[in-house]
Amino acid sequence: MTPQPLSAFLSVQNVSKYFDNFCALDDVSLDVSLGQKLVICGPSGSGKSTLIRCVKQLERHQSGKIYIDGTEVGAGDAGQAAIRENVGMVFQQFNLFPHLTIMENLTLGPVRARGMPAAAAAELAMHYLERVRIPEQSHKYPSQLSGGQQQRVAIARALCMKPKLMLFDEPTSALDPEMIAEVLDVIGELADAGMTMICVTHEMGFARQVADMMLFMDHGKIVEMAPPRRFFSQPESPRCKLFLSQILRH
């Protein structure tokens, strides 16, 4: 067993990831402690999604180590269990199960992966549906809901697994503009309630509000990492300055 290097809940240490010859993550290191809200931004292809996908082990990193709660992920069953126990994820494309009702989408994980009785799982699901403010849609199928509602269901589905760390991979990028707010509100409430989260997003207003740490990536590297106030007012690197000036111009 590797000695525990840090007290951080999530510790990413010198992680690199290649797709064939393309370097998606280049020696990235990062710590997130419980209760922290990290927002990652950067141009497309900069590796921000890859980073959180590696944390969830949807992608395998080739070098470096990722620890969750002191357990190295990717190293056998213990790592897998640590991810299963602790990490929830919300995708850009929602990825709800189209053939199942909202209720079935939410209870599938608790019942099959956690062995929860169906009635308890349904109760849990209703609790989280109320929290994302769509309890009345539980009997419907995903295709009957709007994009914003679908994404809120996806958030509720992740919450039903009671994760300690939530990963959001551009949760509003596939949404119509008028639906972005309802999803961000839900994520903001989660943040206020103390959920640890890493959120990849281009919504800078939201980032400023929610984040206690901003992270800018480019070409697979972390270029800048700072609390939001300093990040937005006086970014250090020219690359980050340029990015912010472009994204905040409108």
Binding site: K56, G88, F91, N95, F97, P98, R114
Partner: protein, 258 residues
């Protein structure tokens, strides 16, 4: 209830001209000198007996096809899954099975299983099970390819979503991937069932008393191939039209669900 009624009406409207047209052929043919419908005329005792003899073969044709397709779907799925593996060995097993089985003509496989297998394996095998085995094995290669295509057509995000709620491989397949894949491949599965019903006629060569065998036997005693084989054609036609309608109904029902 009303919906069912509407559906039946729609089906009838779609198929009735064809059916009615075909049944008009019978009396028409009876008028001409070349036709001898007496051989299957239900109004005479002999014709009735012959007709019953022919139609009773339906039981074996259907039993044979349904048993074989059930087995071939299960085997096909079990062959398809290793074909989706990222590792080379399971994929290789899948390829070898599919390529080899696909290369054997069904008729040859039927003959080999019935006459060859008992000698090789030292077992005795009934005509029915020899037929089922040959049809199922032959069809399973195609089923495997259908399942593989269906499963591959499911978006990668569905696997990731399943992983994000901690489902293991078995549950991911059972609750997330296969229900969606099966819905997509249902038309292809329907095709295979139709194909199977038709190919079951080949089992007549080893003496299975199904539709085709009975028609052959009756032709030998009655010397009326034209009429008897026409009845045979109609028998297959009716069965397969019913099956097709059933598959289409199932498709609509599943599609209505989401």
């Amino acid at each position: 209830m009303q919906i069912l009624q509407q559906k039946l009406c729609r089906l009838w409207r779609r198929y009735s001209p064809m059916m009615v047209g075909l049944f008009f052929l019978l009396p028409l043919g009876g008028c001409s000198q070349n036709w001898g419908w007496y051989v299957v005329n239900p109004a005479t005792p002999a014709g009735q007996r012959n007709l019953k003899f022919l139609i009773d073969g339906l039981y074996y044709t259907i039993a044979l096809s349904l048993t074989a397709i059930t087995i071939s779907i299960i085997v096909g799925l079990m062959i398809a899954l290793p074909g989706l593996s990222s590792r080379r060995v399971p994929r290789g097993i899948n390829r070898v099975y599919v390529e080899m089985v696909r290369a054997i003509p069904i008729l040859v496989l039927i003959l080999w299983v019935y006459y060859g297998l008992p000698q090789v394996a030292g077992i005795s095998i009934s005509v029915f099970w020899a037929g089922v085995l040959a049809l199922a094995v032959s069809d399973s290669a195609f089923q495997a390819e259908i399942f593989r295509a269906g499963i591959q057509s499911i978006n990668r995000g569905q696997y990731e979503a399943a992983a994000s709620i901690s489902l293991n491989y078995r549950d991911t397949m059972r609750f997330v991937i296969l229900p969606q894949a099966i819905k997509r491949i249902l038309p292809a599965l329907g095709n295979q069932l139709v194909y199977m019903l038709k190919m079951s006629s080949l089992v007549s060569v080893i003496g299975m008393q199904e539709l085709t065998r009975r028609a052959n036997e009756l032709v030998v005693t009655e010397y009326r191939p034209l009429e008897i084989y026409t009845v045979l054609v109609l028998e297959y036609l009716v069965v397969i039209l019913i099956v097709s309608a059933g598959v289409r109904w199932l498709e609509r029902r599943l599609n209505a669900a989401d």
